[in-house]
Structure formats: C-alpha cells, structure tokens
Symmetry: C2
Subunit: 195 residues, 2 copies
C-alpha cells in the first residue's frame, strides 16, 4: 500500500473518531459536519474529501461500534465455556457497557430511518438482526440445555433487549448507582425472566 493511501486511511479514521465523539456528545442529529471538522482543526469542506456525505459518516460510526459489539459478543459466545446462563450474563454485561459508555453512537433505540439512506438502512437493519441473533442463540442453547424454561424465546429476547437499551434513557453517571451497580442489579432481575 502506498504511503498516500495509508495517510488517507489514517485521516479517515481520525475523522471517524472525531465523529464518534461528537455523536456521543450531541446525538446523530445534533452532530454537525462543522463541529466534527472543527475538532480536528479542519473545515467542514474537507470532510467531503474523505466521506461522501453526512449520512455516510454517521453510518460508518454506527457500524463501527455495532460491529465491535458483535465481535465482543461472538468471542464470548464461541469461546467461553460455562453454562448458557453464565454466557448470557457476560453478554448482558457487555451490552450494558456499550449502552452506557457509547450512549449515543451505540444507540439501538434511535430510529435509523432518520439518519441513513435506504442502502445504509438495509445494512444497519441486517447488522442489528445479527446482533439480536447472538442473544437468540444463547437463549436457545439454554432452553435445549434445560437451563431456561421459557416457551417464547423471541419475545423474551425482545424484553431483555428493550430493558437493556432503556438504560441509556435514564442512567446518569453522577447518580446513586455506578455503572457496575447497575449491571449487577440488571443481571439479577433480567435473569429471573428465564427461570
């Protein structure tokens, strides 16, 4: 790879990181090309040298975080050895950490229709489906195991995901509970659903 290509990629990455930061601060709609550029001491015009348009950049950000989350879950799902319950717990923990630490970018609550074009939307939905599926897998495994006793794994999965995503609507790091507290408590109550 030529030097110039490397530089291009590096710059793209810097912009991506800047965008991630701004999105986490202002949300997808609040993030302006202006502010993303200013963060790197550039002018908004030059962002278009690296990204086709705003929705392209937003998409890359969402994708970036979501893909990492998927990787993290897959790693656990494939390599962790414990019971289905233990693996699921680990997955919940990871999900909650993303939901809290990457509040806005990892925002599975936001309506992707608002920020992405048709093509991107399709990919995002596919990725979200894939993400959900990892939870589905472990739930099914637990049922087959006889660890979990539930008749509607899909609904249970949705209940769990909804409960977890909601954390970003109310959690305040300055509040009574630390992130770790919240995770512990969520784990306790969410796992009850499966019994």
């Amino acid at each position: 790879m030529k030097l110039s290509e490397k530089k291009l990629l590096k710059k793209k990455e810097q912009i991506l990181f800047s965008a991630l930061e701004i999105i986490n601060k202002r949300g997808y709609s609040g993030a302006t090309m202006e502010e993303i550029a200013a963060d790197l001491f550039m002018t908004k015009g030059s962002l278009y040298y690296y990204f086709k348009n705003k929705s392209d950049l937003m998409y890359q950000c969402h994708n970036f975080v979501l893909s990492h989350a998927i990787e993290d879950l897959e790693a656990i799902l494939q390599h962790e050895k414990g019971s289905a319950a233990d693996i699921l717990k680990k997955m919940i923990e990871i999900h909650l950490e993303y939901a809290i630490d990457e509040k806005e970018v990892f925002n599975l609550i936001m309506d992707p229709k608002l920020y992405f074009n048709e093509e991107q939307l399709e990919l995002v939905l596919k990725l979200r489906k894939k993400y959900e599926n990892l939870f589905h897998e472990i739930i099914i495994r637990g049922i087959q195991n006889k660890e979990f006793h539930i008749a509607e794994p899909s609904i249970v999965r949705m209940i769990m995901l909804g409960a977890m995503n909601w954390v970003q609507q109310w959690y305040n790091p300055e509040g009574r509970l630390s992130k770790e507290d919240v995770i512990t408590i969520y784990l306790e109550y969410i796992m009850k659903i499966l019994m």
Copy 2:
C-alpha cells in the same frame, strides 16, 4: 362561551386529530405541516392561525395521548380493588395497548429534545415522570404487601418500562402474534421479575 370560540376549539381539535394521525403514520420528524393541513383540505398557512408553530402542535399531540394514558392508569390504580399484582398487570396491559395502537404519538422512546422547545420539554419530562411514578406506586405497594420481593424498585420499574416500550420497535400487526398474544406473553415474563 361564544359560538366563534366553540368553532375555534373545534377546529383546533380537528387539527390535533389530523396531526395525531399523520404523526402515527410518519413519526414526529416525518410529519409536515403541509400534510397535516392537506388532510383537512386546508393550506399549511392556516394551521398557524390555530397553533403557534410545529413544535407547539407536536407537543399538544404528545401531551394529549400521554395525559389520556395517565388518566387510564390512575383510574385503575385508584379504583381497582385486587392485589398489587393484578393492578400492575392491568397497567402493563394498558401501556402495551398504547405502545402498539399509538405507536408514534405515544412514543416514549423518541428523544423529546429533538421536537420540543425548552419549556415544552420540561412539561413533557414532568408528565413522563408522573407516568413512571404510577408504576412506581404499585410496585411499592406490592413490596409492602409482601407480594413482590425486590430490593431495587426503581431499577425494576425501568426494566419493565424499557421492555414494554421496546414493543413498538419490533411489533408487526401482520406477524405471527396478535396484540392480545403479545400482551399475554409479556405479562407472563414481566411479572416473573417481581417474584
């Protein structure tokens, strides 16, 4: 009240209902003054004779539905006689019905910062808090009753609300499950959390 005032109120109400419909079809951002007016064979200009601006109209809509939901819950909370569990179940049922039937207007997932001004935002947040509080009350009642055995009622409430609100992200009336099915299943699993 003068006739003209009555007419004014009636027209306002018509616009409100038109807006409710359009919002449920297109979401808050997708709803344009144009389309809301067209629905009543008016031009967008005249909407401003009745409402200060779009965010005013959107706010009235959100408020309208949320207030009705609160009334419904209050009625049950105050007059229903059964156990805390029974009352809570009834409340969950109502919540899910709003979340499904008024998918977009009764959208507690959407970020109110995006659509309302500061003053409206404050009122909306207050109303949401009030709504949440009704669930809090019954949970506390159940704990005091010894019906529920949980140490973190606030978190449990958030878990329940998140799970319920999420229904509007995935539920499809054309799918395998009827609204009634979903409610039944949700009830079963959500109530487990409290045991």
